[in-house]
Symmetry: C2
Subunit: 197 residues, 2 copies
DNA sequence: CGGAAGATTGAGCGTAGTCAAACCGAGTGG
DNA sequence: CCACTCGGTTTGACTACGCTCAATCTTCCG
Protein backbone atom coordinates (compact mmCIF):
# COMPACT_ATOMS: atom_id res chain seq x y z
CA UNK A 1 0.00 0.00 0.00
CA UNK A 2 1.50 3.26 -1.14
CA UNK A 3 4.42 1.33 -2.55
CA UNK A 4 5.68 1.81 -6.07
CA UNK A 5 5.60 -1.15 -8.40
CA UNK A 6 7.91 0.69 -10.73
CA UNK A 7 9.14 4.22 -11.23
CA UNK A 8 9.18 6.34 -14.34
CA UNK A 9 12.58 6.22 -16.01
CA UNK A 10 13.82 3.05 -14.38
CA UNK A 11 15.03 0.31 -16.70
CA UNK A 12 12.16 -1.72 -18.04
CA UNK A 13 12.35 -5.32 -16.84
CA UNK A 14 8.97 -6.63 -15.80
CA UNK A 15 5.38 -6.43 -16.72
CA UNK A 16 2.82 -7.16 -14.05
CA UNK A 17 -0.50 -8.92 -14.15
CA UNK A 18 -2.75 -7.52 -11.44
CA UNK A 19 -4.41 -10.25 -9.39
CA UNK A 20 -6.02 -8.05 -6.77
CA UNK A 21 -5.93 -4.46 -5.56
CA UNK A 22 -5.90 -1.12 -7.31
CA UNK A 23 -3.03 0.96 -8.62
CA UNK A 24 -2.50 4.38 -10.07
CA UNK A 25 -0.08 5.01 -12.89
CA UNK A 26 1.16 8.53 -13.14
CA UNK A 27 3.43 10.59 -15.35
CA UNK A 28 5.42 13.47 -14.00
CA UNK A 29 6.66 16.27 -16.21
CA UNK A 30 9.79 18.27 -15.93
CA UNK A 31 7.78 21.27 -14.74
CA UNK A 32 6.75 19.35 -11.65
CA UNK A 33 3.20 18.66 -12.70
CA UNK A 34 1.93 15.18 -12.26
CA UNK A 35 -0.87 13.48 -14.13
CA UNK A 36 -2.56 10.21 -13.33
CA UNK A 37 -3.22 8.35 -16.53
CA UNK A 38 -4.77 5.09 -15.42
CA UNK A 39 -6.09 3.13 -12.46
CA UNK A 40 -5.09 -0.46 -13.25
CA UNK A 41 -6.88 -3.15 -11.34
CA UNK A 42 -7.67 -6.85 -11.37
CA UNK A 43 -7.18 -8.34 -14.80
CA UNK A 44 -5.09 -5.50 -16.16
CA UNK A 45 -1.53 -5.72 -17.34
CA UNK A 46 0.85 -3.04 -16.10
CA UNK A 47 3.99 -1.80 -17.78
CA UNK A 48 3.50 -2.54 -21.46
CA UNK A 49 4.18 1.08 -22.27
CA UNK A 50 7.81 0.56 -21.35
CA UNK A 51 8.43 -1.97 -24.11
CA UNK A 52 9.26 0.64 -26.70
CA UNK A 53 11.74 2.81 -24.84
CA UNK A 54 13.25 0.21 -22.54
CA UNK A 55 12.34 2.44 -19.62
CA UNK A 56 9.34 2.39 -17.35
CA UNK A 57 7.10 5.00 -18.91
CA UNK A 58 5.12 5.74 -15.79
CA UNK A 59 5.25 5.34 -12.04
CA UNK A 60 2.80 2.77 -10.75
CA UNK A 61 1.73 2.98 -7.12
CA UNK A 62 -0.47 0.64 -5.11
CA UNK A 63 -3.57 2.28 -3.63
CA UNK A 64 -4.34 -0.59 -1.32
CA UNK A 65 -3.04 -4.04 -0.50
CA UNK A 66 -2.51 -5.69 -3.81
CA UNK A 67 -1.17 -8.82 -5.41
CA UNK A 68 0.55 -8.88 -8.74
CA UNK A 69 2.28 -11.47 -10.82
CA UNK A 70 5.61 -10.12 -12.06
CA UNK A 71 6.68 -11.38 -15.45
CA UNK A 72 10.23 -10.79 -16.61
CA UNK A 73 9.99 -9.36 -20.09
CA UNK A 74 13.14 -10.79 -21.69
CA UNK A 75 12.28 -14.45 -21.07
CA UNK A 76 8.69 -13.70 -21.99
CA UNK A 77 9.80 -12.64 -25.45
CA UNK A 78 11.49 -16.02 -25.95
CA UNK A 79 8.48 -17.78 -24.61
CA UNK A 80 6.20 -15.88 -26.96
CA UNK A 81 8.21 -17.11 -29.90
CA UNK A 82 7.48 -20.67 -28.87
CA UNK A 83 3.89 -20.20 -27.80
CA UNK A 84 1.74 -18.52 -30.46
CA UNK A 85 -1.38 -18.72 -28.33
CA UNK A 86 0.28 -16.79 -25.54
CA UNK A 87 1.63 -14.33 -28.03
CA UNK A 88 -1.82 -13.72 -29.39
CA UNK A 89 -3.06 -13.18 -25.85
CA UNK A 90 -0.36 -10.59 -25.17
CA UNK A 91 -1.09 -8.78 -28.41
CA UNK A 92 -4.78 -8.71 -27.63
CA UNK A 93 -4.08 -7.27 -24.24
CA UNK A 94 -1.97 -4.51 -25.73
CA UNK A 95 -4.67 -3.78 -28.27
CA UNK A 96 -7.15 -3.63 -25.45
CA UNK A 97 -5.03 -1.11 -23.57
CA UNK A 98 -4.69 0.96 -26.70
CA UNK A 99 -8.42 1.03 -27.32
CA UNK A 100 -9.10 1.88 -23.69
CA UNK A 101 -6.66 4.77 -23.89
CA UNK A 102 -8.47 6.08 -26.93
CA UNK A 103 -11.82 5.96 -25.19
CA UNK A 104 -10.39 7.86 -22.30
CA UNK A 105 -8.95 10.51 -24.49
CA UNK A 106 -12.43 10.94 -25.77
CA UNK A 107 -13.73 11.77 -22.35
CA UNK A 108 -11.30 14.60 -21.93
CA UNK A 109 -12.81 16.38 -24.85
CA UNK A 110 -16.01 18.33 -24.76
CA UNK A 111 -17.56 16.91 -21.61
CA UNK A 112 -18.61 18.67 -18.45
CA UNK A 113 -17.19 17.89 -15.03
CA UNK A 114 -20.32 16.02 -14.04
CA UNK A 115 -20.25 13.94 -17.20
CA UNK A 116 -16.61 13.07 -16.78
CA UNK A 117 -17.11 11.96 -13.22
CA UNK A 118 -20.19 9.94 -14.18
CA UNK A 119 -18.29 8.24 -16.98
CA UNK A 120 -15.47 7.49 -14.59
CA UNK A 121 -17.88 5.90 -12.13
CA UNK A 122 -19.58 3.92 -14.88
CA UNK A 123 -16.23 2.62 -16.02
CA UNK A 124 -15.34 1.60 -12.47
CA UNK A 125 -18.73 0.02 -12.01
CA UNK A 126 -18.33 -2.08 -15.14
CA UNK A 127 -14.87 -3.19 -14.17
CA UNK A 128 -15.99 -4.15 -10.68
CA UNK A 129 -18.93 -6.11 -11.99
CA UNK A 130 -16.71 -7.86 -14.55
CA UNK A 131 -14.82 -9.32 -11.61
CA UNK A 132 -17.77 -10.38 -9.55
CA UNK A 133 -18.18 -7.33 -7.34
CA UNK A 134 -21.25 -5.17 -7.06
CA UNK A 135 -21.77 -2.74 -9.90
CA UNK A 136 -24.04 -0.56 -7.73
CA UNK A 137 -22.05 -0.10 -4.58
CA UNK A 138 -18.33 0.07 -4.09
CA UNK A 139 -15.51 1.84 -2.34
CA UNK A 140 -13.32 4.24 -4.20
CA UNK A 141 -9.68 3.44 -3.59
CA UNK A 142 -8.49 6.81 -4.77
CA UNK A 143 -8.76 10.29 -3.29
CA UNK A 144 -10.66 13.19 -4.85
CA UNK A 145 -7.32 14.67 -5.77
CA UNK A 146 -6.35 11.55 -7.68
CA UNK A 147 -9.68 11.41 -9.48
CA UNK A 148 -9.26 15.09 -10.30
CA UNK A 149 -5.84 14.56 -11.79
CA UNK A 150 -7.10 11.64 -13.82
CA UNK A 151 -10.06 13.57 -15.22
CA UNK A 152 -8.18 16.82 -15.76
CA UNK A 153 -10.18 18.76 -13.20
CA UNK A 154 -9.56 20.32 -9.79
CA UNK A 155 -10.38 18.35 -6.68
CA UNK A 156 -12.93 20.95 -5.61
CA UNK A 157 -14.76 20.42 -8.86
CA UNK A 158 -14.84 16.68 -8.22
CA UNK A 159 -16.31 17.30 -4.80
CA UNK A 160 -18.99 19.57 -6.24
CA UNK A 161 -19.77 17.10 -9.00
CA UNK A 162 -20.30 14.34 -6.45
CA UNK A 163 -22.60 16.62 -4.49
CA UNK A 164 -24.51 17.56 -7.63
CA UNK A 165 -25.00 13.92 -8.64
CA UNK A 166 -26.25 13.22 -5.14
CA UNK A 167 -28.59 16.21 -5.19
CA UNK A 168 -30.08 14.83 -8.40
CA UNK A 169 -30.71 11.56 -6.61
CA UNK A 170 -28.49 9.58 -8.95
CA UNK A 171 -26.15 8.29 -6.29
CA UNK A 172 -25.32 8.39 -2.63
CA UNK A 173 -21.80 9.31 -1.69
CA UNK A 174 -20.32 9.05 1.78
CA UNK A 175 -16.61 9.68 1.87
CA UNK A 176 -15.34 7.00 -0.48
CA UNK A 177 -18.40 4.80 -0.41
CA UNK A 178 -20.45 5.10 -3.60
CA UNK A 179 -23.93 3.73 -4.01
CA UNK A 180 -25.61 4.28 -7.34
CA UNK A 181 -29.29 4.68 -6.66
CA UNK A 182 -30.67 3.01 -9.75
CA UNK A 183 -27.97 1.69 -12.03
CA UNK A 184 -30.27 1.67 -15.03
CA UNK A 185 -31.19 5.32 -14.58
CA UNK A 186 -27.60 6.27 -14.09
CA UNK A 187 -26.39 4.32 -17.09
CA UNK A 188 -29.17 5.62 -19.33
CA UNK A 189 -28.51 9.19 -18.29
CA UNK A 190 -24.85 8.93 -19.23
CA UNK A 191 -24.66 6.00 -21.61
CA UNK A 192 -23.72 8.14 -24.59
CA UNK A 193 -20.44 8.97 -22.90
CA UNK A 194 -18.60 5.73 -23.30
CA UNK A 195 -20.59 3.88 -25.89
CA UNK A 196 -19.19 4.18 -29.37
CA UNK A 197 -21.36 4.38 -32.42
CA UNK B 1 -7.77 11.92 -50.00
CA UNK B 2 -10.85 12.04 -47.83
CA UNK B 3 -11.15 8.29 -48.18
CA UNK B 4 -11.53 5.98 -45.23
CA UNK B 5 -8.87 3.39 -44.64
CA UNK B 6 -11.19 1.62 -42.27
CA UNK B 7 -14.38 2.36 -40.42
CA UNK B 8 -15.21 1.96 -36.78
CA UNK B 9 -17.05 -1.30 -36.16
CA UNK B 10 -15.98 -3.07 -39.32
CA UNK B 11 -14.35 -6.47 -38.91
CA UNK B 12 -10.69 -6.13 -38.10
CA UNK B 13 -8.54 -7.60 -40.87
CA UNK B 14 -5.58 -5.40 -41.66
CA UNK B 15 -3.12 -3.20 -40.01
CA UNK B 16 -1.48 -0.50 -42.09
CA UNK B 17 2.02 0.89 -42.13
CA UNK B 18 1.95 4.50 -43.29
CA UNK B 19 4.51 5.22 -45.98
CA UNK B 20 3.44 8.75 -46.81
CA UNK B 21 0.59 11.13 -46.15
CA UNK B 22 -1.39 12.03 -43.07
CA UNK B 23 -4.49 10.47 -41.58
CA UNK B 24 -6.91 11.21 -38.83
CA UNK B 25 -8.37 8.52 -36.64
CA UNK B 26 -11.64 9.35 -35.01
CA UNK B 27 -14.12 7.81 -32.66
CA UNK B 28 -17.79 8.57 -32.86
CA UNK B 29 -20.12 8.14 -29.94
CA UNK B 30 -23.72 7.14 -29.92
CA UNK B 31 -24.74 10.69 -29.09
CA UNK B 32 -23.34 11.86 -32.41
CA UNK B 33 -20.24 13.49 -31.04
CA UNK B 34 -17.02 12.76 -32.78
CA UNK B 35 -13.53 12.93 -31.39
CA UNK B 36 -10.27 12.78 -33.25
CA UNK B 37 -7.81 10.73 -31.25
CA UNK B 38 -4.71 10.64 -33.44
CA UNK B 39 -3.09 11.95 -36.61
CA UNK B 40 -1.06 8.98 -37.87
CA UNK B 41 1.62 9.77 -40.41
CA UNK B 42 4.75 8.37 -41.97
CA UNK B 43 6.25 5.61 -39.86
CA UNK B 44 3.15 4.99 -37.79
CA UNK B 45 1.17 1.80 -37.67
CA UNK B 46 -2.59 2.09 -37.93
CA UNK B 47 -5.20 -0.27 -36.60
CA UNK B 48 -3.52 -2.05 -33.71
CA UNK B 49 -6.36 -1.00 -31.44
CA UNK B 50 -8.64 -3.42 -33.28
CA UNK B 51 -6.65 -6.48 -32.25
CA UNK B 52 -8.48 -6.94 -28.97
CA UNK B 53 -12.09 -6.68 -30.06
CA UNK B 54 -11.77 -8.01 -33.60
CA UNK B 55 -13.40 -4.81 -34.83
CA UNK B 56 -11.88 -1.64 -36.13
CA UNK B 57 -11.85 0.58 -33.07
CA UNK B 58 -11.75 3.84 -34.95
CA UNK B 59 -12.40 5.31 -38.36
CA UNK B 60 -9.22 6.30 -40.17
CA UNK B 61 -9.45 8.90 -42.92
CA UNK B 62 -6.79 10.18 -45.29
CA UNK B 63 -6.19 13.93 -45.07
CA UNK B 64 -4.16 14.07 -48.26
CA UNK B 65 -2.80 11.72 -50.88
CA UNK B 66 -1.24 8.90 -48.98
CA UNK B 67 0.43 5.55 -49.38
CA UNK B 68 0.06 2.73 -46.94
CA UNK B 69 1.21 -0.83 -46.77
CA UNK B 70 -1.69 -3.08 -45.80
CA UNK B 71 -0.76 -6.10 -43.73
CA UNK B 72 -3.29 -8.85 -43.21
CA UNK B 73 -3.35 -9.58 -39.53
CA UNK B 74 -4.09 -13.31 -39.52
CA UNK B 75 -1.04 -14.32 -41.59
CA UNK B 76 1.03 -11.81 -39.67
CA UNK B 77 0.33 -13.67 -36.48
CA UNK B 78 1.71 -16.87 -38.02
CA UNK B 79 4.67 -15.00 -39.33
CA UNK B 80 5.39 -13.49 -35.94
CA UNK B 81 5.58 -16.96 -34.47
CA UNK B 82 8.37 -17.79 -36.89
CA UNK B 83 10.20 -14.49 -36.77
CA UNK B 84 11.02 -13.35 -33.23
CA UNK B 85 12.77 -10.23 -34.45
CA UNK B 86 9.67 -9.06 -36.27
CA UNK B 87 7.58 -9.93 -33.30
CA UNK B 88 9.74 -7.82 -31.09
CA UNK B 89 9.40 -4.99 -33.55
CA UNK B 90 5.60 -5.23 -33.50
CA UNK B 91 5.52 -5.30 -29.72
CA UNK B 92 7.75 -2.28 -29.54
CA UNK B 93 5.53 -0.41 -31.92
CA UNK B 94 2.48 -1.18 -29.80
CA UNK B 95 4.33 -0.10 -26.71
CA UNK B 96 5.24 3.09 -28.47
CA UNK B 97 1.64 3.79 -29.36
CA UNK B 98 0.64 3.14 -25.77
CA UNK B 99 3.23 5.54 -24.41
CA UNK B 100 2.27 8.18 -26.96
CA UNK B 101 -1.35 7.86 -25.93
CA UNK B 102 -0.38 8.38 -22.32
CA UNK B 103 1.56 11.52 -23.15
CA UNK B 104 -1.40 12.88 -25.01
CA UNK B 105 -3.75 12.20 -22.17
CA UNK B 106 -1.39 14.26 -20.12
CA UNK B 107 -1.84 17.23 -22.37
CA UNK B 108 -5.56 17.22 -21.92
CA UNK B 109 -5.15 17.81 -18.25
CA UNK B 110 -4.38 21.14 -16.71
CA UNK B 111 -3.03 22.98 -19.74
CA UNK B 112 -4.27 26.14 -21.37
CA UNK B 113 -5.43 26.33 -24.95
CA UNK B 114 -2.22 28.04 -26.02
CA UNK B 115 -0.09 25.39 -24.35
CA UNK B 116 -2.03 22.55 -25.90
CA UNK B 117 -1.72 24.02 -29.34
CA UNK B 118 1.98 24.67 -28.85
CA UNK B 119 2.53 21.11 -27.68
CA UNK B 120 0.62 19.86 -30.68
CA UNK B 121 2.81 21.90 -33.02
CA UNK B 122 5.98 20.75 -31.26
CA UNK B 123 4.89 17.17 -31.64
CA UNK B 124 4.20 17.69 -35.34
CA UNK B 125 7.51 19.47 -35.78
CA UNK B 126 9.41 16.60 -34.17
CA UNK B 127 7.63 14.03 -36.27
CA UNK B 128 8.29 15.97 -39.47
CA UNK B 129 11.95 16.40 -38.68
CA UNK B 130 12.25 12.71 -37.80
CA UNK B 131 11.36 11.99 -41.42
CA UNK B 132 13.62 14.50 -43.05
CA UNK B 133 11.25 17.44 -43.38
CA UNK B 134 11.72 20.87 -41.94
CA UNK B 135 11.03 21.17 -38.24
CA UNK B 136 10.53 24.93 -38.57
CA UNK B 137 8.13 25.27 -41.44
CA UNK B 138 5.39 22.95 -42.58
CA UNK B 139 1.85 22.73 -43.83
CA UNK B 140 -0.90 21.56 -41.56
CA UNK B 141 -2.91 18.85 -43.25
CA UNK B 142 -5.81 19.23 -40.86
CA UNK B 143 -8.39 21.94 -40.37
CA UNK B 144 -8.78 24.06 -37.26
CA UNK B 145 -11.89 22.07 -36.49
CA UNK B 146 -9.93 18.84 -36.56
CA UNK B 147 -7.19 20.26 -34.37
CA UNK B 148 -9.87 21.50 -32.00
CA UNK B 149 -11.47 18.09 -31.76
CA UNK B 150 -8.09 16.50 -31.16
CA UNK B 151 -7.15 18.91 -28.38
CA UNK B 152 -10.57 19.04 -26.79
CA UNK B 153 -11.17 22.70 -27.58
CA UNK B 154 -13.47 24.71 -29.82
CA UNK B 155 -12.21 25.74 -33.25
CA UNK B 156 -12.58 29.41 -32.38
CA UNK B 157 -10.24 28.87 -29.48
CA UNK B 158 -7.71 27.26 -31.81
CA UNK B 159 -7.92 30.25 -34.08
CA UNK B 160 -7.39 32.63 -31.19
CA UNK B 161 -4.49 30.58 -29.88
CA UNK B 162 -2.78 30.73 -33.28
CA UNK B 163 -3.27 34.49 -33.34
CA UNK B 164 -1.93 34.83 -29.83
CA UNK B 165 1.19 32.80 -30.63
CA UNK B 166 1.72 34.98 -33.67
CA UNK B 167 1.22 38.17 -31.67
CA UNK B 168 3.91 36.96 -29.31
CA UNK B 169 6.23 36.55 -32.26
CA UNK B 170 6.66 32.84 -31.70
CA UNK B 171 5.37 31.77 -35.08
CA UNK B 172 3.92 32.97 -38.33
CA UNK B 173 0.67 31.41 -39.45
CA UNK B 174 -0.91 31.88 -42.86
CA UNK B 175 -3.88 29.64 -43.43
CA UNK B 176 -2.31 26.23 -42.97
CA UNK B 177 1.29 27.25 -43.41
CA UNK B 178 3.19 27.34 -40.13
CA UNK B 179 6.60 28.88 -39.70
CA UNK B 180 8.08 28.76 -36.23
CA UNK B 181 10.12 31.90 -35.83
CA UNK B 182 12.92 30.52 -33.69
CA UNK B 183 12.54 26.86 -32.97
CA UNK B 184 14.79 27.06 -29.92
CA UNK B 185 12.73 29.84 -28.36
CA UNK B 186 9.54 28.03 -29.10
CA UNK B 187 10.78 24.73 -27.74
CA UNK B 188 12.24 26.32 -24.61
CA UNK B 189 9.04 28.22 -23.92
CA UNK B 190 6.97 25.05 -24.02
CA UNK B 191 9.43 22.26 -23.41
CA UNK B 192 7.95 21.30 -20.08
CA UNK B 193 4.78 20.23 -21.82
CA UNK B 194 5.90 17.01 -23.39
CA UNK B 195 9.09 16.21 -21.60
CA UNK B 196 8.67 13.74 -18.79
CA UNK B 197 10.63 13.95 -15.59
C1' DC C 1 -4.11 17.28 22.38
C1' DG C 2 -2.12 18.93 18.00
C1' DG C 3 -0.95 18.35 13.26
C1' DA C 4 -1.73 16.66 8.67
C1' DA C 5 -4.39 15.05 4.92
C1' DG C 6 -8.78 14.66 2.83
C1' DA C 7 -13.25 16.57 1.84
C1' DT C 8 -16.79 20.09 1.41
C1' DT C 9 -18.50 24.58 0.47
C1' DG C 10 -18.42 29.53 -0.69
C1' DA C 11 -16.83 33.83 -3.19
C1' DG C 12 -14.69 35.94 -7.02
C1' DC C 13 -12.41 35.62 -11.24
C1' DG C 14 -10.77 34.11 -15.73
C1' DT C 15 -10.49 31.10 -19.61
C1' DA C 16 -12.71 29.01 -22.99
C1' DG C 17 -17.44 27.95 -24.98
C1' DT C 18 -21.34 29.79 -27.55
C1' DC C 19 -23.48 32.67 -30.71
C1' DA C 20 -22.94 35.71 -34.32
C1' DA C 21 -21.01 38.31 -38.09
C1' DA C 22 -17.76 38.92 -41.62
C1' DC C 23 -14.14 37.46 -44.77
C1' DC C 24 -11.80 34.46 -47.98
C1' DG C 25 -10.96 30.98 -51.56
C1' DA C 26 -12.57 27.28 -54.26
C1' DG C 27 -16.12 25.35 -56.93
C1' DT C 28 -20.31 25.56 -59.56
C1' DG C 29 -23.59 27.22 -62.58
C1' DG C 30 -26.24 30.85 -64.85
C1' DC D 1 -17.58 36.87 -66.04
C1' DC D 2 -20.18 37.29 -62.10
C1' DA D 3 -23.26 35.45 -58.65
C1' DC D 4 -23.79 32.03 -55.55
C1' DT D 5 -22.79 28.63 -52.23
C1' DC D 6 -20.06 26.23 -49.06
C1' DG D 7 -16.35 25.17 -45.94
C1' DG D 8 -12.83 27.07 -43.45
C1' DT D 9 -11.06 30.90 -40.72
C1' DT D 10 -11.02 35.01 -37.92
C1' DT D 11 -12.80 38.16 -34.64
C1' DG D 12 -16.06 40.19 -31.31
C1' DA D 13 -19.45 40.10 -27.43
C1' DC D 14 -21.42 37.70 -23.88
C1' DT D 15 -21.84 33.83 -20.81
C1' DA D 16 -20.81 30.04 -18.00
C1' DC D 17 -18.14 26.55 -16.19
C1' DG D 18 -14.48 25.40 -13.67
C1' DC D 19 -10.17 27.26 -11.27
C1' DT D 20 -8.17 29.63 -7.36
C1' DC D 21 -8.12 31.06 -2.87
C1' DA D 22 -9.97 30.49 1.51
C1' DA D 23 -12.44 28.76 5.50
C1' DT D 24 -14.40 24.92 7.87
C1' DC D 25 -14.89 20.19 9.26
C1' DT D 26 -13.65 15.37 9.73
C1' DT D 27 -10.69 11.61 10.27
C1' DC D 28 -6.56 9.67 11.27
C1' DC D 29 -2.32 9.30 13.66
C1' DG D 30 1.49 10.71 16.40
Amino acid sequence: MGHDLCRQGEPFEFIYAVRSGTFKSSLSLSNGHQQICAFPMCGDIIGMDGVASGQCASTVTALDDAQVCAIAYAPLVDLLARDPALQRRVNRQMGYELARGRRLLLLMGPFSAQERLAAFLLDLSQRFSAHGYSAREFNLRMSRIEIASFLGLSHETISRAFSALQREGLLHIDKRRVRITVLEHFARRFEALLRVD
